[in-house]
């Protein structure tokens, strides 16, 4: 549904994004993560046809963004980072304006406005002036605007920024409900949100893709899985236990991790059977052999580094 190939955008000497490629199959939700200024918004602006790219190609909903921008714009709903609201209008006036701008058939306009207001939880808010709304409600109006023409593709730039936890859950449920019918690109800083919603992740850092693929793959790519090993050896020094584990061929690194040991191995090698049989052979007790996959947060930090955090 969305194909991005070798996209590069330069502003004069400054390269905002460089050689960005990814694709999103129909009905999937792609999480777009990265530190501030990494190029998330630029990429989204290119995909919506707002900015032209310097190099590369992007196909959205079957149309080339640079050759058929109008066809792409018809099929994309876009929520920019700041909801694009006219402060002096009411919610109803604004959404009716958007419906006209989107050239929805006259007969459908009011019905669609009613439907999206219902969907984003704005029922009864029609006469409220946009400038007086709280951030959460502005965000909802922005989402309503993006959904009006029932677009197959949704591009949402930080849809939950500035929301309180309850509203956050609301928006998350809304997005989960939209997946399937809509192909969604979602940028956010809130990593648990990505873990909850997105099957696929693109991590962008300093304009380049640092990791991409399924959630599992990105986590593994960032920081390999490790094992927490808890052994009980009466009368043996913890350091000696660690040495014994480290002597196994399958084990690469051993570090003490509280009461337990943190064990790393070569990718694709599971050291647990070897550790278990070694422990049993020496008459040690085994109370834990867990594989731990790093969280997305750990992956993020290991790739981006902590200077931006």
């Amino acid at each position: 549904m969305i194909e991005v190939e070798h996209l590069t955008k330069r502003y004069g000497a400054f390269t905002a994004i460089e050689d960005v490629s990814f694709s999103v199959p129909k009905g999937h939700v792609l999480g777009f993560i990265g530190p501030n200024g990494a190029g998330k918004t630029t990429t989204m602006r290119v995909l919506t046809g707002f900015l032209p790219a310097t190099e590369g190609r992007a196909v959205v909903a079957g149309f080339d963004v640079f050759e058929d921008p109008v066809e792409v714009k018809r099929r994309v709903g876009y929520l920019p980072e700041t909801p694009p609201l006219y402060r002096e209008l009411t919610v109803g006036e604004y959404l009716r304006f958007c419906a006209e701008l989107r050239d929805l058939p006259r007969a459908d306009r009011l019905r669609r406005v009613g439907e999206v207001m219902e969907r984003v939880g704005l029922r009864g808010w029609e006469r409220r002036v946009l400038g007086t709304l709280s951030k959460g409600y502005r965000q909802r109006v922005g989402l309503a605007q993006a959904l009006l023409h029932n677009p197959p593709v949704l591009i949402l730039d930080e849809p939950t920024s500035g929301l309180d936890p309850a509203q956050n859950v609301g928006v998350r449920e809304l997005i989960a409900g939209l997946a399937g019918d809509h192909t969604i690109i979602l940028s956010t800083h809130i990593l648990p949100e990505v873990e909850a919603l997105c099957a696929q992740v693109v991590l962008i850092n300093k304009g380049k893709i640092a990791a991409s693929g399924t959630m599992e793959a990105v986590r593994a790519q960032a920081a390999p899985a490790y094992y927490r090993v808890s052994l009980h050896a009466a009368g043996v020094e913890p350091a000696a236990v660690a040495r014994a584990v480290g002597a196994l061929a399958e084990v690469k690194v051993v570090q003490p991790d509280g009461e337990a040991l943190r064990v790393e191995s070569e990718p694709g090698v599971d050291p647990r059977p070897a550790i278990a049989s070694m422990a049993v052979g020496r008459g040690w007790g085994v109370s834990g052999l867990e594989r731990t996959i790093p969280t997305l947060e750990e992956a993020f930090l290991s790739i981006v580094g902590r200077e931006g955090a």
């Binding site: 402060r87 006209e100 701008l101």
Partner: protein
């Protein structure tokens, strides 16, 4: 077409839900009233000739203040991004905004109908001349609105857009004032460039294609420059 109309409607709504339209109508009608009174008191004619000339110059300062927010504010608040990601051409956006400011001009000119009524009550004005005068003034509004929009498209700061618009339009007036300083040969040339001599034909009751082309050329020129600026903003 739908989009142009939608934008026109939205802009008018914005004018009238804020104090903007009322302030403009009030200020403009006050200025026009002063010039109307002075014109009658100084010449004793039942005509709008003096008022028209002075009103056109005040419009040069007033209209950029009206148009300054059109693009500058949209750039600043981010609504421009929504417009440009809708399946709408920049031309439709531009024309919608231009027509909106022109609609307000039309209301401002309609307001001066009161002065025409006073003329008709106390004297015998030449209706043909009044009609051509209004046409001339309306065409002038078209030029000033287009120039103001161009200034607004150049920046996301409203005040800069307003001042820029005035500075952009002033040469059209100054060139005429300065023309008497430069000798006869150049005077004629500069008078062709200046706005007031062209407006003067209308206020005398003359509709000349040369004058019509002058206004049309300036209006389309400014609108075209605005269009190019909107297109190029995306590249920067």
């Amino acid at each position: 077409m739908t989009a142009t109309f939608a934008i026109l409607k939205r802009e008018l709504l914005t004018y009238f839900v804020s104090p903007l339209a009322y302030v403009f109508l009030g200020v403009f009608l006050f200025l026009a009233g002063v010039f109307f009174y002075l014109g009658i008191a100084l010449t004793g004619e039942a005509s709008l000739r003096v008022m028209m000339g002075n009103v056109s110059i005040s419009l040069m300062f007033v209209l950029p203040m009206l148009t300054m927010r059109h693009f500058a504010e949209e750039q600043k608040t981010g609504t421009f991004e929504m417009l440009m990601t809708s399946p709408v051409s920049p031309v439709a956006i531009l024309v919608g905004k231009w027509l909106a400011s022109l609609t307000l001009c039309l209301l401002m000119l309609l307001g001066t109908g009161l002065f025409v009524a006073i003329l008709a009550y106390y004297g015998e004005p030449d209706w043909g001349v009044i009609a051509t005068s209004y046409l001339g003034l309306f065409l002038t509004c078209g030029v000033f609105c287009a120039g103001g929009l161009f200034a607004s498209s150049l920046t996301d700061d409203q005040v800069a857009a307003g001042m820029g618009g005035i500075v952009l339009l002033m040469p059209l007036w100054l060139v005429g004032s300065a023309s008497s300083l430069v000798g006869e040969e150049w005077q004629a040339r500069l008078d062709h460039l200046a706005l007031l001599p062209h407006l003067r034909s209308f206020t005398k009751g003359v509709i000349d294609t040369a004058d019509l082309s002058y206004f049309a050329l300036l209006t389309f020129g400014f609108l075209f420059l605005t269009f190019r600026t909107l297109e190029s903003r995306r590249w920067r």
